[in-house]
Amino acid sequence: MTLELRGITKRFGAVLANDHLDITIPSGTIHAIVGENGAGKSTAMRIAYGFYTADSGDILVDGQVREIRAPRDAIALGIGMVHQHFMLVRPMTVTENIVLGAEPGSAVSLDLRKAAASIRALSEEFKLAVDPDATIENLSVGQQQRVELLKALYRRAGLLILDEPTAVLTPQEVDEFFGILRRMRDQGKTVIIITHKLSEVLAISDDVTVMRDGRVVGNVKTSDTTAAQLARLMVGREVLLRVEKPPARPGPIVLSVKDLSIGGHDGARRLEQVSFDVRGGEIVGVAGVEGNGQTELIEALAGLLPESRVSGSISFSGRDIRPLDARHRREAGIAHVPEDRHRRGLLLEFSLAENVILGVHYRAPAVRGMGAVLLNRPGIQQRVDLVIREFDVRPPDPSLPARALSGGNQQKLIIGREFELPPILLLISQPTRGVDIGAIEFIHRKIVAMRDAGCAVLLVSAELEEVTALADRLLVMHNGHIAGEVDPARATHEQIGMLMTGGHAPSGVEGHS
């Protein structure tokens, strides 16, 4: 099944999201669409799937112009889409989820058995190894993703659009997933994959379309290109893909964690007897698939978990900080760049100036006067100007609401706020998630500069490339434990991936549980 976008233009208010796009995706190929945030790649695919309608331009399916006004039109034409965030009903079975919206049987009865049989057949045909009778919440993330694939296949999709499909997978799961995509291609399906991981683009795709500022800036055969060339096309200038850093000069121990355990709300342990040290002047990386205790570890260190959930000892500069709350830990010199900037890191409706004092809003220079109650406008202005200047936040207007900034600039604002504390210990989680390549380079340089200034850095990232490039020592977490420590300069991704899955060899098509 071929898909062709011809002259697609879409405008949202003042923003030209898609500007006369021409993209041709031949039948039976895997086609990658890459581009930075806001480049318009998701918009284009949402137009193809009927979430939006284009202002002008045509969509051609198998050479014929088609009207796609809603997702059901796209589905009827054989276009399927798997979203980054799975749209599954967790307490229901695989079969129930797959038939949802296309229930077999008559108006009143529901023939699930027949559906289960055809789902099983599909699963076997593409070697997905999904049990139609399993309940979604008992499946691993990788399996859930395959359920999403099945959902599209069940609706007889000939073309699949996958939005950032590998973001939630371990390296082994990614390999398996790519195997599935290749099988689908070999059986005549067409696959479009929206991604930002250039190494994956090179590994899986046949052709690449690069987008920038709503336009197509490159259309190349994957075999004819390199990561550097793709990055240059995406950003519009030369990009340093490697992090340049001198060897670390570790100082005295700043953070010492011993036997740290954290309970969950449901009683299950999120973190089990974790011990490690971080020295001044070094970056200790934490790798692992998300949800293996990294979030809890950082929140416990930042003082954001209720005391009752935490046991073990946390010593900072030789002092027990367990009794300190978040405010006092920040006062002691612990900065925290949270993993989810929208949930924790920002007050989206507040101005940049108001955001830049979050956490220090109660003390000078943010306040003045008797009892330090009144907010100090000049002091706040100075601080926000400093952060905007030093961290290249754009647009540089302190009165804008944080919501108005791109992901990368929001992140630079948070990083600026925390780096200007200035910290003795920096807890930093997913520092470049949803951030443009240009800004990633900038943020990485700033983190290394922080280290070189003597700061102790604990870096958590789900991006293996990032954490191996930045860290001086690397801890790998699995299931609430530290599965091992490796030298990031020497360990291969396979070795790290093995630790990430609990030390077992790649677990075949079933994934791990």
């Binding site: 930002h196 949270p338 507040f350 979050l358 791109s406």
Partner: protein, 363 residues
């Protein structure tokens, strides 16, 4: 500039409400022009119209501020009604018990009683939320019933003058009376109960503005309301904040007692509130949770309230219920506007598009 734009939408909502109201009047078979002339004309006449309109606006400013502060802090205070009842009773109680005190002491003490009683009654649901996570909407509603029953019981069995057929307390000491503005404003007769509490309401509005936007406490209230997880990350104790915000909200609602007891009836009069606490929700909504907006919205509702009487008396068919209809329509249109605005933002948000990283993990 931003403020003017903020004002535009509520204005449109009010105009729409009056338009639909006119259609209703037409359907009833009366003249909308005549009805609105009566409604607005009487509210803006001097001195009675303006005097009463400002008097009616006073409690609505207090309750509007109460609801607005709570909403800024992420809390829905439906309990202003109960808070103002408890506060009014406490005001009268101090005014009765300490009747022999001189005015310079008694008036401030009565005011403190109003504020403190309202704050305590507001803090209770705050504490329940902080301690047990129970929702403040449920608890403030429940506490309304308890408040009304409690002060009713105290009036009936302990503070009523024996033989008085009306459910009201004994009068407060003369020293506790606060002056009616008629004494100072030429042409405004003293029989109009507009009193110093109105100026106090304006002062309270300014103080709320300063609190919310100029102090670190207000920063913490607004931060908690906007994103509790981020406020917590910024070292703000959410539990403490919930109690504090509800207490401030209750204190503002409690100030209605000053207007009612010290400036108007000089006693506690059972069932005095014309749903001030609930109308305060509409006032805050229409006033965009901004003190200046609250003042304007309170004035609008006061105009409607004042104008209802002549509409009732001088039209053939329209009753003063048209006021209720107009109030309801205003609320409806304000709510619809909120929805309209939200969908507007969704479209704009889609404009930042692919990126506007609600979706993490994307480049």
């Amino acid at each position: 500039m931003t403020f003017l734009r903020e004002l535009l939408f509520p204005l449109i909502a009010v105009l729409c409400a009056f338009l639909v109201g006119a259609i209703v009047v037409l359907f009833i078979g009366d003249s909308p022009v005549e009805t609105y002339r009566l409604l607005l004309g009487s509210a803006f006449s001097w001195p009675d119209g303006i005097g009463y309109t400002l008097f009616f606006a006073t409690p609505l400013i207090f309750t509007g501020l109460a609801v607005a502060v709570a909403l800024r802090g992420g809390l829905l205070n439906i309990g202003a009604e109960g808070q103002l009842y408890v506060a009014a009773f406490a005001t009268a109680w101090v005014g009765i018990k300490l009747a022999s005190f001189p005015a310079v002491l008694l008036v401030p003490l009565c005011c403190v009683a109003a504020i403190a009683a309202g704050a305590v009654w507001g803090a209770i649901p705050g504490l329940l939320k902080a301690r047990f996570g129970s929702h403040e909407v449920i608890n403030t509603i429940m506490l309304n019933f308890i408040a009304v029953a409690l002060v009713g019981y105290l009036t009936q069995y302990h503070y009523r003058i024996p033989g008085d057929p009306i459910m009201e307390s004994a009068p407060i000491g003369n020293a506790a009376h606060i002056a009616r503005l008629g004494r100072f404003v030429p042409g405004l007769p003293e029989r109009i109960p507009l009193n110093f509490a109105f100026l106090l309401a304006l002062l309270a509005s300014w103080l709320v503005y300063v609190l919310l936007w100029k102090t670190k406490w207000g920063y913490e209230i607004r931060a908690t309301g906007q994103n509790p997880a981020a406020a917590e990350y910024g070292g703000v104790s959410i539990r403490r904040q919930v109690v504090l915000t509800m207490a401030i909200s209750g204190a503002l609602a409690g100030m209605v007692g000053i207007n009612e007891v010290l400036g108007y009836r000089y006693r506690y009069y059972d069932g005095f509130s014309d749903n001030y606490g609930f109308t305060g929700i509409a006032v805050a909504l229409l006033g965009r949770n901004h003190p200046l907006g609250v003042i304007v919205a309170a004035l609008l509702f006061a105009v409607l309230q004042r104008g209802g009487v002549p509409v009732d008396a001088f039209t053939q068919l329209v009753s003063k219920d048209i006021v209720l209809i107009l109030q309801a329509l205003v609320i409806l249109f304000v709510a619809a506007e909120a929805m309209f605005r939200r969908s507007g933002r969704r479209w704009q948000g889609a404009g930042g598009s692919s990126g506007q990283a609600t979706a993490p993990g994307k480049i």
